[in-house]
Assembly symmetry: C2
Homo-oligomer: 136 residues x 2
Amino acid sequence: MTSKQEFIEKLRNSRLRPTKQRINICEVLFNRDKTFHFTINDLFNLIKDKTGEKVSLATVYNTVHAFHKKGYLKEIPINSNQTYFDTNVTDHHHFFDVKEEKLIDLKNEDVGPIEIQKSIPGKKIKSVEVLVKLED
Amino acid sequence: MTSKQEFIEKLRNSRLRPTKQRINICEVLFNRDKTFHFTINDLFNLIKDKTGEKVSLATVYNTVHAFHKKGYLKEIPINSNQTYFDTNVTDHHHFFDVKEEKLIDLKNEDVGPIEIQKSIPGKKIKSVEVLVKLED
DNA sequence: CAAATAGTTTAGAATAGTTTTAAATTGCTA
DNA sequence: TAGCAATTTAAAACTATTCTAAACTATTTG
């Protein structure tokens, strides 16, 4: 349970003006116990449902991208027609249920340590993502 | 170096009619020493360049999907505006150079064994993909 | 070997997710 | 509170991909 005031501070600290829309989006995204996997469209619909206020689709895109840039959201690499995001920005991995198009978190310890033995000159590793596709 | 005749057989064996277009696509995709990472658009342009014959974009899509279904191509899970495919269908992983939007193969042994400790009732693991993002 | 048939190709239209635009609105600073 | 800059918005634009339906081609059948 995070308060509105905390969201406002969080936004201010990130040099993002705490607008009504952004606060509503924060409520939907971050006012939860469990990690949340979503597409922009999921979020767009949830905002209307949960807050009763409509936020334009463009703003949802803008805000999600801003949050992603600030590190408050993680983009999940799957090939899908839609882009998936995750409110869990800690280092972890995913199951993807191909049939149901649903994501499930995989803790780091469920995957075990991954040590990349190869390196590319002049480049450093930014992230290591494991995607485990599930079928019936 | 694989001959045209072999492509024709490969296609026939997969119950795909060996049309001029498909054979050209095979030449571009499979007549190489090294693994090949591409987007549909890359491939579309390469066909014109390499074979001198134009294949319609729709056919490139159809054929790539057909080959993917038959297991001759692998789809690489990255978030990009375009979908990437790989002619290397063996079990392996990828580096993705975010800046240059370029993929590099990672051998299985460069990543080490990955053992997924968690399981989801009623589902089985279809694939395990590791994507290592690179930055400068 | 010709005709029938079923699969394939194609250009162009349609679709869907995402980005851009430009005008109106809002938050913040002086 | 005035003024500036950031933000929101609806709508248009854009882009990758899929669909459509007509023309074409490989294969099968008589």
